[in-house]
C-alpha cells in the first residue's frame, strides 16, 4: 500500500462539453520529475484516448496547456507533481472564464478577436537612409518584459472583469493591456492608443487586484508595469486640464 501511494496518484479530471459534464478520477503511475501534463498524457494514452487537451511545446514557451490545477490557473507543462499534495486527488479542470469546448479545452477565440481591435504597430520614419532604425539596448529592454508574453491567457482567466462579469465586449483584459503597453512603450511606435484604452478597451474596469500578475507564468508584472502606467496615460490625457492644453498644441506640430 505504501509503495502504491508513492508510485501513483489520482487525478480528478473534468470531462464533458458545453452541454454538461463532471469530474472523473483516474489513477496513474508517477515518476520523478513528472509534470501535470505528463500525467494527463499518460491517462489519455492508457485510459481515455479521447481526453481533450491542448499542448505544444511542453517547455513553458507556447502557452497552450493552460488549465486550473488544484484550483489554481497554471500551465500544466510547468506544474511539477512534486509541488502538489498527491495524497488526495489532484483536480485538473479547464479555464473557467472561457466557454468550454471539451474536457480541458476551452474556446479562447475571443482573445484573438480582441487583439485585432488594437491599433497595430506604427513605426516612425527610419533613422538611417538604408531604412533602418537605431535603438539603445536600454530602450529595448524596457518593453522586453511585455514581449515575453506567451499568450496562455491565464491572466484573462483570473480577471474578475472577464471571469465573473463577462464584459468581453467592453474590456480587452490584462493580456491585451500588456500588448498595448508593449506597443505604446515601443521605442519606434508613434500611434496613440490612449483614447481607445479609455473608451473601447475599458481600462477603467480594472481595479488593480493584481490577480493577473500573480498567475503569469512569465512573471510579467502586469499590473504595476503595464496597466498602471497605461491608466496614468489615460488620466494625463483625459483628466489633466493643463496636460490636455499642452498636448493640444504639441499634437499640431507632429508631422
Amino acid at each position: 500500500m505504501m509503495g502504491e501511494t508513492q508510485s501513483s496518484a489520482t487525478f480528478r479530471v473534468w470531462r464533458g462539453d458545453a452541454t454538461g459534464g463532471g469530474f472523473c478520477d483516474y489513477r496513474t503511475a508517477v515518476a520523478p520529475g513528472m509534470v501535470v501534463l505528463d500525467a494527463i498524457h499518460q491517462i489519455q494514452a492508457e485510459q481515455a484516448n479521447d481526453l481533450a487537451v491542448r499542448w505544444n511545446c511542453k517547455a513553458g514557451k507556447c502557452g497552450s496547456c493552460s488549465a486550473e490545477v488544484a484550483g489554481k490557473p497554471r500551465l500544466m507543462c510547468m506544474t511539477r507533481l512534486s509541488e502538489l499534495a498527491l495524497e488526495a486527488p489532484v483536480t485538473v479542470e479547464p479555464m473557467r472564464a472561457f466557454p468550454l469546448v471539451k474536457d480541458l479545452v476551452t474556446d479562447v477565440s475571443w482573445n484573438f478577436r480582441a487583439k485585432r481591435t488594437i491599433t497595430p504597430f506604427t513605426p516612425r520614419r527610419p533613422d538611417a537612409p538604408d531604412g533602418t532604425w537605431r535603438m539603445q539596448q536600454a530602450d529595448v529592454d524596457r518593453v522586453q518584459e511585455f514581449r515575453k508574453c506567451i499568450e496562455c491567457f491565464l491572466c484573462q482567466d483570473v480577471c474578475h472583469v472577464l471571469r465573473e462579469h463577462h464584459l468581453e465586449e467592453q474590456f480587452i483584459g490584462p493580456r491585451h493591456f500588456v500588448y498595448t503597453a508593449a506597443l505604446e512603450m515601443h521605442p519606434l511606435d508613434v500611434a496613440d492608443r490612449v483614447p481607445a484604452l479609455k473608451r473601447s478597451n475599458g481600462i477603467g474596469f480594472c481595479n488593480i487586484t493584481k490577480c493577473c500578475t500573480k498567475v503569469c507564468p512569465e512573471s510579467i508584472t502586469i499590473t504595476d508595469n503595464a496597466i498602471i502606467p497605461l491608466k496614468e496615460r489615460v488620466v494625463d490625457e483625459f483628466y489633466d486640464p493643463v496636460g490636455r492644453l499642452v498636448k493640444l498644441f504639441s499634437r499640431r506640430q507632429r508631422p
Binding site: 481533450a52 505544444n56 469546448v101 539596448q137
Partner: protein, 603 residues
C-alpha cells in the same frame, strides 16, 4: 459531399509557423484572397520554440561578413548537397527579411551604436544571428502573427488536412477537419503552400511537439510530389536528459555561443579531441582562444563546441557509448564555469539565457549559473523534404508550393543553427509571392466530389472498427523503431529490420480503432496523423539505407567515411504507380562558375 462546406481562396497556406505566416503575408500583399489553416492556435507553432537567432549577414558586429561568407558557410555545413540556388538566395535575402521584421515591430538586442546585435553560432564564421536573448522564435512568430492579423488573411485555427485535392495534374485544394467539432471542410484553392514543419514525432526523443508528424511531406508525396534528402535528420546535440519527462526538450546552442563548454564524466573537454579536417583552420586550438572568440575577439577562432550539430551530436554519443557519460546517459554542458572569467557571471547568464535558466530551474531543479546541465542529442529537424524549385518554391506538382522545414534543398546534409529562421522568412516570402502569381495566372480549379467522399470515408473508418487497437500504442512502437534502428548511428542490418517493422506497423495502423465521437478527440487525430508518420518514417529509412556513406546528419557505422561520388547526388523518393515507394538518385546540377568562385574565395 453534400454535408461538406466548401471555402474558396486563391491561395491556401497550410501551417502557421514562421514560413506559413510569411507566405500568407506575402500572398495577401499581392492582392489575392488567402486562407490559412493550422493544427494549433495561432502563435503556438514550433517557431515559437526557436531560441538562438536568425542568421543573416548584416555585418553589424563584424563587417567582414557578407552574403558570400554566409553562402559558403551554408554550403560547407550542408556538405555541398545543398540546392546552391537556394543557398545563394537565402544568403542574399536574409538581411532584408530581418530588417523587415524590425519594421513590423520586432525588437532585437542591440549593438552599442544602436543596430541589431548578432551572436556567434555553430558553423557560422562571424557573429551572424540576430536575436532577442534566447527567445528569438517567440519574437519572430509574434511579430508575424501581429502583422498578419491585419493583412486580410482568413485564418482557420485548429484545422488538420486529411488530403490534398487535385484537378488533373494541378493541386486544387485540401480536405480538412476542424479539431473542435470534427467537421469536414473543403478548401478549394488555385495554389497551395505547404508550411507544415518537420517530422520529430517519428522519434521517441525529440524537441518537437505533437504537431510534427510530417503532414506536409506525406500530403505532398501522396499528391505525386517528390521528396528528397530524407535520410538527413538533424539530431540536435543538446537536449535535456533528466528528469525523464523532459527528455528531448531543447537546450539552445546559444549556451555554447555564450561560452558554455561540453565535458564528460572525467571533466575533460572532449570536443577538442576530434576536430574534422575541413574545419581545423577555423577552430580554436586551446580553451583560452575559444573563450576569447565567444567574447568577440576577432583574432580568435571558434571553440570546438561550436562545430556543426551533426559532429557535436556524434561526439556526445561516442562519449556516452564509451562509458564517459553523465549519470543519466548524457554529457555535461557547463556555462557556470564562466564565473572564473566574468565578475557578474550569474547575472550575465540570466540576462543572456533567461528561458534556459527558467527551464532548468523549474523542470530539473538545476541552477545553470552554479551547476552544469546534463544534455544529450534530441531529434530536432529534417533537412530533407519536398523537392522545390529554388526560385519559386514550387514542388513537382503544379500549383503546390512548400517552404520552411517541410521543403528540402537549402540545408543539404546538415543545417546550421540560425539558418532555419532565416529560411522561413526568405522562402516563406518567395513561396507566398509565387503562389499568388500562380493563382493569378491560372484559371479556376474544380474539386472532384468523389475524391472528397473517399477521403472523408477513410478518415471516419477508425470509429467503425470495434476490434482494432488504439493509436497511441502504434505511435509509440513507431517512435521506438525509428529511435533504435534509424537514429544517429545507422547500420544496414538494423535499418532493414526497421523496414520490416514499419511494414507491420502500417498493417496495424490500417486497423486502428478509436473511441468516443468526432469532437476534439485526440485519439482520432493521432490515428489520422499515424499515416503521415509512417510515410515519412519509410522515406527516411529507405533513403538512409541507400546512402552508403557518412555525411552531415547521416552517419553509417558500416560506411563511416564520406564517399566523394555520393556527394554528387540527392536521394529522392516518389510514389510509384502501384502505390509503392520508389527511390532514385538525382544528380546535383553543377555549381555555376560565379558561385564556384565564391566557394573558392571563402576557402
Amino acid at each position: 459531399m453534400a454535408d461538406v462546406e466548401t471555402i474558396a481562396h486563391d491561395v491556401l497556406v497550410i501551417g502557421a509557423g514562421g514560413a506559413g505566416l510569411r507566405a500568407a503575408i506575402a500572398a495577401a500583399g499581392r492582392g489575392v484572397s488567402v486562407g490559412m489553416v493550422c493544427k494549433s492556435l495561432l502563435g503556438k507553432a514550433h517557431t515559437v520554440m526557436a531560441e538562438g537567432g536568425i542568421a543573416a549577414a548584416l555585418g553589424n558586429v563584424d563587417d567582414r561578413d557578407s552574403w558570400k561568407v554566409h553562402f559558403a558557410d551554408t554550403m560547407r555545413g550542408g556538405q555541398y548537397l545543398n540546392n546552391w540556388r537556394m543557398a545563394e538566395l537565402h544568403a542574399k535575402e536574409a538581411p532584408d527579411r530581418v530588417r523587415e521584421l524590425e519594421a513590423w515591430g520586432a525588437l532585437f538586442d542591440r549593438t552599442r551604436d544602436g543596430r541589431i546585435l548578432q551572436r556567434n553560432f555553430g558553423g557560422h564564421k562571424y557573429p551572424r544571428l540576430a536575436h532577442v536573448g534566447d527567445r528569438t522564435g517567440l519574437e519572430m512568430i509574434r511579430t508575424l502573427q501581429d502583422h498578419g492579423i491585419h493583412a486580410g488573411i482568413d485564418v482557420h485555427m485548429e484545422c488538420t488536412v486529411i488530403t490534398l485535392l487535385k484537378d488533373g495534374d494541378r493541386v486544387a485544394g485540401a480536405l480538412v477537419y476542424d479539431r473542435e467539432r470534427g467537421r469536414f471542410h473543403v478548401f478549394r484553392a488555385k495554389a497551395v503552400v505547404l508550411a507544415t514543419g518537420g517530422i520529430g514525432r517519428a522519434y521517441r526523443i525529440t524537441s518537437n511537439s505533437w504537431e510534427y508528424t510530417g503532414d506536409g511531406h506525406a500530403l505532398a508525396y501522396r499528391a505525386g510530389a517528390v521528396l528528397q534528402d530524407m535520410e538527413f535528420v538533424q539530431f540536435h546535440p543538446t537536449g535535456m536528459v533528466w528528469p525523464p519527462s523532459v527528455r528531448g526538450i531543447l537546450v539552445t546552442e546559444g549556451v555554447r555561443g555564450e561560452g558554455g563548454v561540453l565535458k564528460n564524466r572525467d571533466g575533460r573537454r572532449f570536443m577538442f579531441d576530434d576536430v574534422p579536417e575541413n574545419y581545423r583552420n577555423q577552430t580554436a586550438t586551446d580553451p583560452d582562444e575559444g573563450w576569447r572568440y565567444t567574447q568577440g575577439d576577432k583574432s580568435a577562432r571558434r571553440p570546438p563546441e561550436l562545430l556543426t550539430r551533426d559532429h557535436v551530436a556524434r561526439c556526445i554519443v561516442r562519449e556516452v557509448r564509451e562509458g564517459r557519460g553523465s549519470p543519466h546517459g548524457g554529457v555535461y554542458l557547463d556555462i557556470a564555469w564562466i564565473r572564473e572569467r566574468l565578475p557578474n557571471a550569474a547575472d550575465h547568464i540570466r540576462k543572456k539565457l533567461p528561458s534556459m535558466y527558467h527551464q532548468f530551474k523549474q523542470l530539473a531543479d538545476i541552477d545553470i549559473t552554479r551547476e552544469p546541465m546534463e544534455v544529450g542529442p534530441t531529434t530536432h529537424y529534417i533537412m530533407g523534404g519536398i523537392r522545390v524549385d529554388g526560385d519559386s518554391q514550387m514542388s513537382t506538382v503544379p500549383g503546390l508550393f512548400a517552404a520552411g522545414e517541410c521543403a528540402a534543398g537549402l540545408h543539404g546534409a546538415n543545417r546550421l543553427g540560425g539558418n532555419s529562421l532565416s529560411d522561413l522568412l526568405v522562402f516563406g516570402k518567395r513561396a507566398g509571392d509565387h503562389a499568388a502569381d500562380f493563382a493569378s495566372q491560372h484559371g479556376a480549379v474544380t474539386v472532384d466530389p468523389c475524391a472528397v467522399d473517399a477521403a472523408a470515408r477513410w478518415a471516419l473508418e477508425p470509429f467503425a472498427r470495434t476490434d482494432g487497437e488504439g493509436p497511441f500504442a502504434i505511435q509509440h512502437a513507431l517512435q521506438e523503431t525509428m529511435q533504435d534502428l534509424v537514429g544517429i548511428v545507422r547500420r544496414e542490418e538494423e535499418m532493414q529490420r526497421a523496414l520490416v517493422a514499419l511494414g507491420a506497423l502500417q498493417a496495424r495502423a490500417a486497423r486502428v480503432a478509436v473511441d468516443g465521437n468526432r469532437e476534439y478527440n485526440p485519439g482520432w487525430h493521432t490515428a489520422l496523423d499515424l499515416h503521415n508518420l509512417l510515410t515519412v518514417a519509410e522515406a527516411i529509412t529507405r533513403s538512409a539505407i541507400d546512402r552508403r556513406e557518412s555525411r552531415g546528419g547521416h552517419f553509417r557505422d558500416d560506411h563511416p567515411a564520406k564517399d566523394p561520388a555520393a556527394g554528387g547526388y540527392n536521394t529522392v523518393v516518389r510514389r510509384g504507380p502501384d502505390g509503392a515507394m520508389q527511390l532514385a538518385r538525382e544528380a546535383i546540377p553543377p555549381v555555376p562558375a560565379e558561385l564556384r568562385a565564391v566557394l573558392t574565395e571563402m576557402g
